[in-house]
């Protein structure tokens, strides 16, 4: 037996990469280059040796700060470019890699330049806005002032019916007062302030004015036709021109204060028309001047931004890389001599030569006198888990990792999932019509793989795209299962020749009540199309799918148990094999393995035996004669034997292991009253934060281990029943799927087709199409996907998978450039 097992291939695929803890001792002068090269290689995960230091106390905190500052500047440029609406495609020309110091200087220059131009153009913009507002006020206020001049000539009734007539209460009150004291107002008191205000502040402004002057004022407003840019937000805002008439000096100061508070800009408008015209002309000419200047300024600024924009993406990546390099350097420790940096990290064993080469290249390139010392260290803590995946297996690995990252070198369920996952999905989603639709979708994603992978997708699309190969395989398998079920949107097809059944007579009237006669060999592949719609369709399919589900389930659970065996063998724990794997195997297979055997025998012999009865009475009265339910000779003694084995298996998996563990522990510490002393020479060697340090002797707690084993055993015993039952979801979902598609086909499409009316047919077709697309293709896919997920996570992986490892996260530029800040 052992020979056979030893001859088995190594199962490299199933295990994560062998990892090695390595130590690097890098001279300071070549440290930066080394880390950069390692980042390009991306196969070394550094351990943080300074975890107790806060970020600004680390060695390269200054450089990290500088990088942060630079990336801030770059963000500023990006923001500016976006605001200016420029579109700079990065020029792919070969520019030499830029030094960090140079880049810093360049960035500072550019920032200074842009800031200065911004402040200039802001100033210009402000003057421009003011002039523009002045112009608008001049134009609009004219209307009010013309009538106010008319008022000066003393024609109050005209005034009343004219301009102010729509001004409700305010106007009448002020008119009343004017009537009371008409004369002095015109000469001495009636003044006005004109200005412009944001539209959304207008109402409050008016109310405030009213309150402040106790109603002794006249408020006129008119919308400005042009929108004015708000310099702070650079958005166009609507503004309203107003003219307030009032009397008295006190009111004037109050109104001016209110204007200021509401940030309403006031502009003096001369009452004299000739002066007004003159002013307008002046303003207009200055406006056109300013416009030209502004234009030139914007162009100049855009040029400057463009110059930055071309190199922006490159700079951003450079800075990001530099920051990552310094962050990594911060994880390194200084040597005692302060001339070397000491780093520790995990790398896959296969990558050691590559890393070595890279380090040599770095030493050479940086003209360092001393090479980098690179050596392997003994590790105490568990190494990270690293699976090399490709486009196809990556998605499956992700599905497994979502449950838990595999323990280092533990059997990886993802390998089997590549096939079992889509297959279990397809058992639930068996319909080759729907499968074809899914396939088309998957093929679309695959065909546009290159394009889609380069662009940013929405979260939903991203999920679909990430799982494109999963969907592809699911589609293929569901076409296969659909062919076995003979389902195509619930329409049976005669693909593999004619049916094995025919009607009893030519009219075929009793086909659905009495049944058909079999007249030739069985249908060669899958379910005979004639079953569709017959009386025994459901009993037949249910029996088939239920049994099939149990067979698949038992097979998968056995696979899980066998993997636990290989795990135990790999980690050299014979205890687990003897007291866990073997009794579990016996328990599962003596009960449910036997059931599977019965199912197969029943299928092969075509026996009429009732398997429920057999299984139930195997427990209730194992000694009783089976009678007509006997499937093979010697079934009764075999059942008794299996039952006994199952009963023995339970205490077998419960008791021996904790006691054996205790025995081992006692033997190891026999006669020792004191704890283990660390040998002094080892202690000297150990650096404080090294992975080699810290041997903590675990306290042996028997009751805890026993309780753990108890839980484990109970879980397995109960679980083997409930997990087997859980696999019946394969049958249930498949049934639900086929019934739903039957309903949509028969009760919607065929019903609508029964009418002559083209409109009803069309509606029927549309409803059918939507139901198929949304309910069957999307919701059912999702639910079948989730059930397959559960079957893998709980029923399959629960048998062997620990999932308490941690992922290998190498320091790699390829990984950091992806994540956007």
């Amino acid at each position: 037996m052992d020979d056979f097992l030893d001859k088995l291939p190594q199962m490299d695929l199933m295990r994560s990469e062998k990892m090695t803890l390595v130590q690097l001792i890098i001279p300071v002068e070549s440290a930066h280059r080394c880390v950069t090269y390692l980042g390009e290689l991306g196969l070394l995960q550094f351990r943080d040796l300074n975890a107790d230091k806060s970020p600004f106390q680390r060695t390269f905190a200054n450089q990290v700060k500088r990088c942060g500052e630079m990336s801030r500047k770059l963000r500023f440029f990006k923001d500016q470019i976006d605001k200016a609406g420029l579109r700079c495609s990065p020029r792919h020309e070969l520019e030499p890699d830029i030094e960090l110091g140079d880049l810093e200087r360049q960035l500072a220059d550019h920032e200074h330049e842009v800031l200065e131009m911004n402040s200039n153009s802001e100033k210009l913009r402000q003057t421009y806005n003011e002039l523009l507002e002045f112009k608008i006020v001049l134009q609009k206020a004219n209307g009010f002032l013309a009538s106010s001049n008319a008022h000066a000539t003393g024609d109050e009734t005209e005034l009343h019916e004219g301009t102010y007539s729509n001004n409700g209460f305010i106007e009448t009150s002020s008119l009343l007062e004017q009537e009371m004291r008409p004369e002095p107002l015109n000469q001495s008191g009636l003044r006005f302030i004109s200005g412009i205000i944001n539209k959304d502040k207008l109402l409050r402004f008016e109310r405030m004015l009213f309150r402040a002057t106790r109603g002794n004022m006249l408020f006129n407003q008119t919308p400005s036709d042009e929108e004015i840019m708000d310099p702070s937000t650079s958005e166009m805002v609507e503004k309203i021109v107003f003219v307030v008439f009032f009397s008295g000096e006190q009111a004037r100061t109050k109104i001016l204060k209110i204007c200021e508070a509401f940030s309403a800009n006031c502009y003096p408008v001369p009452e004299d028309t000739t002066k007004q015209r003159q002013l307008t002309r002046e303003v207009l000419s200055r406006l056109s001047d300013l416009e030209a200047t502004l234009h030139a300024g914007t162009r100049h600024r855009n040029d400057a931004l463009n110059a930055v924009g071309y190199r922006l993406t490159k700079w951003i990546t450079t800075v990001r890389r530099e920051k990552a390099v310094y962050d990594t350097l911060n994880m390194l420790n200084f040597d005692v001599t302060k001339k070397c940096l000491v780093g520790e990290g995990w790398c896959p064993t296969f990558a050691k030569t590559q890393i070595h080469e890279v380090l040599q290249r770095a030493t050479f390139d940086s003209n360092s006198q001393v090479g980098v010392i690179f050596h392997v260290m003994q590790a105490v803590e568990s190494p990270p888990t690293y699976f090399r995946t490709n486009k196809l297996t990556n998605a499956f690995q992700e599905i497994i990792d979502a449950y838990g990252v595999a323990r280092y070198q533990e059997a990886n369920p993802a390998v089997y999932s590549v096939v079992t996952y889509p297959f279990l999905f397809a058992v639930m989603f068996g319909d080759w019509g729907h499968g074809l639709c899914l396939l088309l979708g998957a093929l679309y994603l695959l065909a546009r793989e290159r394009k889609l992978s380069s662009q940013k997708l929405g979260s939903f699309m991203e999920m679909l795209f990430g799982g494109r190969y999963v969907i592809f395989l699911m589609a293929l398998f569901s076409i296969y299962c659909g062919l076995i079920y003979n389902e195509f949107f619930s329409v049976p097809f005669h693909i593999f020749g004619g049916s094995a059944y025919k009607c009893r007579d030519t009219t075929c009237s009793d086909a659905y009540t009495v049944g058909l006669v079999k007249y030739r060999d069985p249908y060669p592949f899958g379910v005979d199309p004639s079953w569709r719609g017959s009386r025994s369709e459901l009993p037949y399919l249910n029996s088939l799918k239920m049994k099939m589900s149990i067979l698949l389930g038992i097979a998968q659970m056995n696979l899980g148990l066998i993997l636990s065996f290989f795990n135990a063998r790999f980690f050299g724990s014979s205890l687990d094999i003897r007291y866990q794997f073997i009794p579990q195997m016996i328990f599962l297979n003596s009960l449910f393995g036997y059931l599977s055997l019965l199912i197969i025998i029943k299928w092969c012999t075509g026996s009429q035996a009732d398997l429920y009865h057999v299984m139930i009475y195997m427990f209730l009265s194992p000694t009783e004669e089976l009678g007509e339910n006997e499937l093979f000779w010697g079934q009764r003694p075999l059942q008794i034997l299996l039952l006994l084995m199952a009963f023995i298996a339970v205490p077998w998996m419960l008791f021996p292991k904790p006691f054996a563990l205790r025995k081992i522990h006692m033997e190891r510490f026999q006669g020792r009253t004191y704890g283990v002393l660390g040998t002094s020479e080892v202690d000297l060697d150990v650096e404080p934060d090294s992975a080699r340090g810290g041997h903590q002797e675990e306290e042996f707690n028997f009751s805890e281990i026993f309780v753990h084993q108890l839980i484990h055993s109970i879980e397995f015993v109960l679980g083997s029943v409930s997990n087997t039952a859980s696999y019946l979801r394969l049958w249930a979902l498949s049934l639900a799927h086929s019934e739903l598609s039957t309903v949509f086909y028969e009760k919607v499409l065929l019903l609508a087709w029964g009418y002559e009316n083209i409109l009803i047919r069309l509606i029927g077709l549309v409803v059918f199409a939507f139901a198929t697309a949304f309910i069957l293709l999307m919701m059912e896919t999702l639910s079948a996907f989730l059930h397959a997920l559960r079957l893998h996570w709980v029923e399959f992986m629960g048998k062997f998978f620990h999932g308490d490892g941690y992922k290998f996260k190498p320091f790699s530029f390829a990984l950091i450039s992806d994540d956007d800040e």
Partner: protein, 351 residues
């Protein structure tokens, strides 16, 4: 909510309570403060804060930082949190949240009015206002000449209007009047808030009455200490005390006649919860009083999080955040002025 909060609270308040507890988890811890105290300059502080919830608010600040920028940005975060919660809140929680800002509103009103009295520029004053206490027509406050005008012009539209009923005089504004106005407003505000919380009932009333009572008592003590040696009469002084809290009513009688700090101390030591605060100080000292009160407040605010299904956590969170910003301001100032030895004088640790 009458004892059955657990049944119904989560219908409207569950989401926000989760949010606020999440925010609380983001408050700086003692370890953070220890790290911050070791900073050499403001950039170090920025770097350390970039690992906390303030990170995204500070990351776009150009490098020579100023204390004001740090405080401003941190306050901005508080305001953003607050606004987020406010727009998710339904009645009566939204009213409760609104109440939290009224205190800042009062402070802002007083700030603007005082500023105008001393002929400062309004825009400059507005920049100094706490953003939580901003309201629409705040800039117009500068127009008013006396309290009546102040009320009639501006404050009648704000939620502060009802609190003004007690301080409507036609007297011109001067420093003394303004200070009295602030305290009268505060008194009315606290009483109103207290009443509102009592109306809400349940755990909210229980916890908030404790917190507000502490606030009222602290104000009473502060008013007393600040008014020693001024021309404020005993009767006037007594009018400024809020009509609830542990000191009400007998403590108020005694506080009103205090003439020096030691008398205040004598009064306060009769009340066990405050005994501890005063016992920390030596006689005649009042500088450390603020810190002692803040520490006691923080302790009480943290306790508010021990209970579930009440609104007190929102009040507590806002207050704790404000305390944290005060801490940050102090630390930044100390670091900027190279007075690192004094950092511990005023920082109140929370967790």
């Amino acid at each position: 909510m009458y004892g059955f909060e657990a049944l119904t609270f989560n219908i409207h308040g569950g989401y926000l309570e989760a949010i606020v507890r999440g925010h609380r988890a983001g408050l700086l811890t003692t370890a953070d403060y220890n790290n911050l105290c070791q900073c050499e300059n403001l950039d170090d502080i920025k770097m350390h804060l970039s690992a906390t919830k303030y990170g995204s608010y500070l990351q776009n600040e150009p490098s020579p930082l100023h204390t004001t920028t740090i405080v401003e940005k941190c306050t901005l975060k508080l305001v953003d949190d607050y606004k987020h919660m406010l727009c998710q809140a339904t009645e009566p929680m939204s009213t409760f949240l609104e109440y939290i800002r009224y205190g800042h509103m009062i402070d802002n009103v007083v700030l603007i009015v005082t500023g105008t009295l001393h002929e400062r520029d309004v825009q400059e004053l507005i920049e100094k206002c706490h953003p939580l206490g901003m309201f629409d027509s705040i800039a117009t406050l500068a127009v008013a000449q006396n309290m009546r005008e102040l009320y009639r012009l501006v404050l009648v539209d704000t939620p502060l209007a009802p609190y003004f009923s007690e301080c409507l005089t036609s007297e011109d504004l001067d420093d003394m009047n303004i200070e009295i106005m602030r305290n009268t407003l505060y008194k009315a505000y606290l009483e109103d808030f207290y009443k509102f919380c009592q109306k809400l009932g349940g755990a909210t009333a229980e916890i908030m009455s404790d917190l507000l009572a502490f606030e009222a008592d602290r104000r009473a003590v502060n008013i007393t200490i600040n008014s020693i040696g001024t021309e404020l009469t005993r009767e006037d002084r007594k009018k400024l005390y809020s009509n609830f809290g542990l000191l009400y009513p007998y403590g108020h009688e005694e506080l009103a006649i205090c003439e020096d700090i030691d008398q205040v101390r004598g009064v306060m030591e009769k009340y066990p919860p405050y005994q501890a605060i005063f016992s920390k100080m030596s006689y005649g000292e009042s500088q450390m009083l603020d810190k002692a009160f803040y520490e006691e407040e923080v302790r009480r605010l943290c306790l508010a999080f021990e209970q579930q299904f009440h609104y007190g956590v929102f009040f507590a969170y806002m207050r704790l955040r404000e305390q944290e910003i005060r801490n940050l301001m102090w630390i930044s100032e100390c670091v900027a002025q190279n007075q690192k030895s004094r950092i511990h004088d005023s920082v109140v640790y929370m967790f």
